[in-house]
Every structure is written in structure tokens, then in C-alpha cells.
């Protein structure tokens, strides 16, 4: 067999792919499901936390800062393992899917909070002064005048961060979540062939490359706004 034929047989084996593609597809749905949940709930929570921080209540700000720092400083895999293995022995039983979701969601919330808070503090003070001068209360000014402008600033970094974190769904493999990677490694050990892995890699690229290109376009668009 020539080099190329060997390569195809190892990584692009029709028979193996046909057999295991359905499983990988199942993994794709799981990955998509997880990613959507993480992004929607994580950014929402992060926004709420950033808004709370705007009220400058010392003790709440303290908690939020500690939360944001810890969840940004710890490697996701460490958190996942601590929660997955530790909770059952403490009497709480959560599915691997739920653990993965919780950890990644909280991590995205932490990053979102920092990004949106940076956006809020970047909004020109004059905007606050103008809206307050027309009688709008603090909360109203925050929500209708400041937050929209903060979000505009926050979108490029938020998109990048969301993509980075949803890629971490692959870590679910380690605790048995049936995501793309898990299906692929299982298929690989059963078939003794690397094609499932190749398919998995391609599936991830197909899923995330459009997002990466979109975020590249977003940054370009928002860079013009600033100038």
C-alpha cells in the first residue's frame, strides 16, 4: 500500500466512518445542546452580576469579585473533577452532563461579568450625568442608557470567550459526557482505527470555524466604530 492509501485507511476509512458516524452525530447534538445552554445562561448570569456590581454594595461586590477571580483562575478540568467526584461522596448526585454544564456555565459567567463590568465602567460619565439630569433614576440610567452601550463594547471579547469556553465541552469526555470526543475515542478503541478521531476533529472544526470567522468579522466591524 502506498503512503497515501495507508493514510486514508487509517484516518478516512469509509467502513469505519459509516459505522460510527451516527454515534458521532449524536455527540454533535450533545455538544450543541450544551454549548447553547452554557452561552445563554452563562452570559445572562454574568450580566446580572455586573449589574449588581454597579450598585456598589460593598459586600455583594466582594462576593462577585471573589467568584469572578476564582472561576477565572482555576483550570476547568480541576473544577469538573472536584465537583463530579466530590459531590456524590458528600451525598449530592448530579449527572455528568449537569456537572459539565454547571462548571462551564459558571466559568463563562465569571468571564462575562468581568467583560461587561469593564464595558459599564468604560461608558462615558457624561452619559450618566445626562440621563440623571433628565430625572432618570440610577437603575433606569443603568439599564436604558449605560448597559446598551456597555454591551456594544463587550460583544467582541464576549464572543471570543464564549467560543473558547464552549470548546471546553470536549472535557466532558473525561467524566463520561457523550459528546463528540467521547464518542470518537470509544469508537476508536473499538475499531482500532483513527478515523473516528479524524471525524471528530472535522466535526469540531465544522462547528466552530464559522463562529471563529464570525468573531473575526465582528471585531473588524467594532474596530471601525471606535475610530
Amino acid at each position: 500500500m502506498s503512503q497515501w492509501e495507508r493514510f486514508v485507511d487509517t484516518f478516512l476509512n469509509r467502513a469505519v466512518l459509516a459505522q460510527y458516524a451516527p454515534d458521532i452525530l449524536k455527540g454533535v447534538w450533545v455538544t450543541i445542546e450544551l454549548s447553547l445552554m452554557i452561552v445563554v445562561i452563562g452570559t445572562f448570569l454574568g450580566t446580572v452580576l455586573a449589574l449588581i456590581r454597579a450598585y456598589e454594595i460593598r459586600i455583594l461586590t466582594g462576593f462577585i469579585v471573589v467568584f469572578a477571580d476564582v472561576f477565572r483562575a482555576l483550570p476547568p478540568l480541576v473544577l469538573i473533577l472536584i465537583i463530579f467526584f466530590g459531590l456524590p461522596n458528600a451525598g449530592i448526585f448530579l449527572s455528568s452532563f449537569l456537572v459539565l454544564f454547571l462548571v462551564l456555565m459558571l466559568i463563562l459567567a465569571a468571564f462575562s461579568e468581568e467583560i461587561i463590568w469593564a464595558g459599564i465602567t468604560s461608558v462615558d460619565r457624561g452619559q450618566w450625568e445626562a440621563s440623571r439630569s433628565t430625572g432618570l433614576g440610577f437603575s433606569q440610567s443603568l439599564i436604558w442608557v449605560v448597559l446598551p452601550q456597555a454591551m456594544r463594547l463587550a460583544i467582541p471579547p464576549l464572543t471570543n470567550r464564549a467560543i473558547a469556553i464552549t470548546k471546553m465541552t470536549a472535557l466532558g469526555t473525561v467524566i463520561g459526557v457523550p459528546d463528540i470526543l467521547n464518542q470518537a475515542t470509544t469508537a476508536q478503541s473499538f475499531s482500532g482505527n483513527a478515523s473516528p478521531l479524524m471525524l471528530a476533529a472535522m466535526a469540531y472544526v465544522l462547528l466552530f470555524l464559522p463562529l471563529v470567522i464570525m468573531s473575526r468579522w465582528l471585531e473588524h466591524k467594532f474596530a471601525w466604530r471606535k475610530a
Binding site: 462615558d124 457624561g126 452619559q127 450625568e129 445626562a130 440621563s131 440623571r132 439630569s133 433628565t134 430625572g135 432618570l136 433614576g137 433606569q140 436604558w144 442608557v145 446598551p148 452601550q149 456594544r152
Partner: protein
């Protein structure tokens, strides 16, 4: 067009400052300001930078909190526990040097925001009022434009409309034309002249001396946190009593 008002009533001033003091840490910016602005009066405040003009203006709607002294709107203090600051602020209009229009909202929405959120007006009512205000400043055809699509002068006029729509008792202007290109200044001053004719009470901090000469009822010269001299334009421009006033005016007028 002589715009000066007759019959100014100082017994019931629209706006009054009593013994106003303001310090930022060690720095005393306002050292005792006593001022009465009568209804429909246009009071013009001039002075070198650092004299405290802007700070005084900003104390009038509590963007800065006075360190001592009182601000009274139609005889009632705007500070104090019983006072709802947001309601009071609706009766005091403020126009900023940097316009501070909301970039994410159209001109119309800039004006209706407070009408809808604070006064609770329905969209239709708020829109009507907004369009009327924009019309007064000559920009009803730009109602759906965004600030980034408007010139500086247009933006400032929208800012004026935004404040006017709330029908305040007094309008405060903090160097309204200082950030504008010279050819755009005229449009804004035109609007201010119209407001004077309509009888709106105005307290203006500005360098536009010609406008002051034409339209102001009273000119106040401030220096180092105090009112040094005040009087009708004729008096101040032609025969200032105080040396410092004289020096400042000669510098500014360039003669």
C-alpha cells in the same frame, strides 16, 4: 433684537443659591455664592477657568453636592430627606458642553426616554411632545437620525430639545457652544435666543460675549469661587467697577 426682560421679580426667584460652598478635598472651588435668578431672566456667568462656574452650575441640579449652603427651586430646597431628586431634576434642564446624547438612540428616542420612563407617558404622547420639542429647535426632520449622523450643532440642539421636552422651570447651560466648530455655534445661539423670547429662565456659563451683550439680562463675573461683580450687560461691558473684571474682559474681548 433687545431681549432683556422687564419686571424681574426677585421676591419669588425661580432659582436661588444661598451661601453655596463646595470643596474637593483640600481645594475650595466655591467660597460662598449668593445668587437669585428671577423667572424668565437670562443670567450669563463668565470668568477665568477654575473660577468655579461649572461647579456652581452642577450644584444646581446636584450633579455635585454642595459642601455647605442651599439651592432653592421656587423657594424650596432641592436637598433634604423629603426631596425626590429625580422629580426635582425634571424641573431643572441641563445642557452639557459635550452634548452627552445617547449614541445608541435616535434623536426622537433621546428625547422620549425620560418622558416614557420617568413620567410614564405612553409612546404616542411622548412622541408628540418629542417632535414638538425637536421642532422648536428646528430639527423635526432629523427625528429618526442617530447622533453619529448629526453635526455638532445639531447634536447640541437635540440635547436642548431633550431638556426642553420636560418643561423645566429653569434651564442650565454649561458652555453649550465651546465644543462646536465656529460655523455651527450660530445655530445653537439662535435656539437659545428663541428660548429667551419665549420667557424661559436660563442660567448660562459661556464665553459667547456677543450673545451675552445682546440677550442677557444680567452678567455675573466669577473668580476664585466668588461672584466678583454683576450687573446688566451695558454696565459690565462698558463700565466694569472691579479691576479683575476689567482685566478678564480685556483679555477675552481682545481689545
Amino acid at each position: 433684537m433687545r431681549g432683556t426682560t422687564c419686571n424681574l421679580d426677585y421676591d419669588l426667584p425661580t432659582l436661588e443659591l444661598r451661601g453655596l460652598h463646595k470643596s474637593f478635598g483640600q481645594l475650595d472651588v466655591l467660597r460662598g455664592i449668593d445668587l437669585k435668578v428671577a423667572q424668565s431672566e437670562l443670567v450669563f456667568v463668565v470668568g477665568p477657568s477654575g473660577s468655579g462656574k461649572s461647579t456652581m452650575l452642577r450644584c444646581c441640579n446636584r450633579l455635585e453636592e454642595p459642601s455647605a449652603g442651599e439651592v432653592l427651586l421656587e423657594g424650596v430646597s432641592i436637598a433634604g430627606a423629603r426631596v425626590d431628586l429625580n422629580t426635582v431634576r425634571q424641573r431643572i434642564g441641563m445642557v452639557f458642553q459635550a452634548f452627552n446624547l445617547y449614541p445608541h438612540l435616535s434623536a426622537r428616542k433621546n428625547v422620549t426616554l425620560a418622558l416614557r420612563k420617568v413620567q410614564g407617558l405612553r409612546k404616542k404622547n411622548a412622541d408628540e411632545i418629542a417632535l414638538a420639542a425637536l421642532d422648536r429647535v428646528g430639527l423635526s426632520d432629523k427625528a429618526d437620525s442617530y447622533p453619529s449622523e448629526l453635526s455638532g450643532g445639531q447634536q447640541q440642539r437635540v440635547a436642548i430639545a431633550r431638556a426642553l421636552a420636560l418643561e423645566p422651570q429653569v434651564m442650565l447651560f454649561d458652555e453649550p457652544t465651546s465644543a462646536l466648530d465656529p460655523e455651527l455655534v450660530g445655530d445653537v445661539l439662535e435656539v437659545m435666543r428663541d428660548m429667551k423670547s419665549a420667557g424661559i429662565t436660563m442660567l448660562v456659563v459661556s464665553h459667547e460675549m456677543n450673545f451675552a451683550r445682546d440677550a442677557a439680562d444680567r452678567i455675573i463675573f466669577m473668580d476664585q469661587g466668588k461672584i466678583v461683580e454683576q450687573g446688566p450687560p451695558k454696565e459690565i461691558f462698558e463700565a466694569p467697577r472691579n479691576e479683575r473684571t476689567r482685566v478678564f474682559l480685556s483679555r477675552v474681548m481682545g481689545s
